[in-house]
Symmetry: C2
Subunit: 311 residues, 2 copies
Amino acid sequence: MIVVDWGTSSFRAFRLNADGSVRDRRAAPLGIMAIGDGDFAAALQDQIAPWLAEGEDRVLLSGMIGSRQGWREAPYLACPAGAADLAAALIDLDFPGAQVKLVPGLSARRTPLSVPEVMRGEETQLVGLLATGGEGDPATASTAPQALLVCLPGTHSKWARLADRRIAGFTTHMTGEVFAVLRDHSILGRLMPKGLTGASDASADAPGFELGLARSADAGGLLHHLFGVRTLGLFGDLPATEAAAYLSGLLIGHELRAAMPASAEVRLVGAAPLCALYARAIAVLGGRAVLAGSDTAAAGLAHIGGLAGWN
Amino acid sequence: MIVVDWGTSSFRAFRLNADGSVRDRRAAPLGIMAIGDGDFAAALQDQIAPWLAEGEDRVLLSGMIGSRQGWREAPYLACPAGAADLAAALIDLDFPGAQVKLVPGLSARRTPLSVPEVMRGEETQLVGLLATGGEGDPATASTAPQALLVCLPGTHSKWARLADRRIAGFTTHMTGEVFAVLRDHSILGRLMPKGLTGASDASADAPGFELGLARSADAGGLLHHLFGVRTLGLFGDLPATEAAAYLSGLLIGHELRAAMPASAEVRLVGAAPLCALYARAIAVLGGRAVLAGSDTAAAGLAHIGGLAGWN
């Protein structure tokens, strides 16, 4: 089986063994926004042709490829939902020479009238976490609790609650995107050295990151705290080289104070540099971070494929 | 006397009578960022030549023209500070054929180690409010309190405390700039019809504005609430035409909940459309808004000029 995590800005494909382990992998900067002509079938064919030639004939996709801007819009499945629910809701796509199916994203509403939440792609990572035990590194994790709190940091960070081996609900925080637009387009970025590309560029042990985290505890709110990135620089209280780290600490601090219960244990799933930042922030704020293993998306897709009879 | 409120994006000049009333006025989109060659003296000469020709020979400037990017950087005066303090700290500028002086901006720190605050231009509006009584419309204002809370909404909203006829302190909220960068550069703006130019484009009676205000009271924090602008649109719960108003209500709601004490009376100083939005939001959140008169900058500069012997 071939599985693909196909997002807005990246394409990551895995060729799996029958037991779900990764046999081969490839990644390309071919997110759905990079497929100018919208011919997703051709783009997929280009990427996985060698594996198809060697006999693979089943492909499972997840991520923004299932959005309105992707290959085909898959209706969101409502939480609570687990691997079996996702496996029962796969959508067939036309593709010459192989079966191609799409995993739908999830939606969540606390009450029928509350603001909706959506995810596309993170659900397979969460299924992967559940499928692989979800306890993270056994040397550091406490005994597995009944319910898990999982943070998937990123452009739109997700905080999910897992219970009864299903995704019970989740919330989204626009932390990564707000960081990027403020750095690239606001007065705050003018003080920062050029060449930074993301919140993860801030080092978890940068003094500015720690200062920003601490500032997020003060009264006054985020819109007020943001202006301090500028004034601390104007008054020489924060070197320009620390301004991005301070902004990152401020935003992540606000996210954590809103999303993380006191002394919570949090599973972190995502890219290593960003998870390192969040792990440091969670520890500073009194929580306990447990880093999940890598390739959770591939593990989740393998599990969903298995439940759909593809193993 | 000629007084000029010279900001980042606009130039507003007033020719005053001896009693400080406005005799004539002119405005141009010649903010300091628009003076490409940095020849501020020539730009000023162009704008006020007719008045100089009629015998005016004293010009008082305030605003970002006194910043590092302006004509000359004026050191910030520390709060508490009043009109007399500002008048005693004027800075002379070289200009052929007239005396030109610059009003410095203000800084504030709650404690020596706290994050600094800065303003350039708003101090003259605050002095103008004090000089003209500060009670707003006598028909709606309660008896003048000992201390006034003043909000100057904008790109960087200021909340100032006035006491003993001085500016005791103030805070800044980046509400307007955050609105603009999210609308123009984030995923939230993609759902909005083109042609909006600012938070003030939202109408105070737009249903979306009210919904955004209400949402700001919920748990979860601003970074979480922002994502709702997208998901409410995706689910058809918020028309695209209301998305900007919702975002505006959300941000202004967060600003007010952080900056405004319960049932406070707030003087509003600024452009009429934006003050109307804030007045509505203050009322919805249980405060009491009093609109200040117009031309507070000219009134403040007239008062400062008088104290400096220029009347």
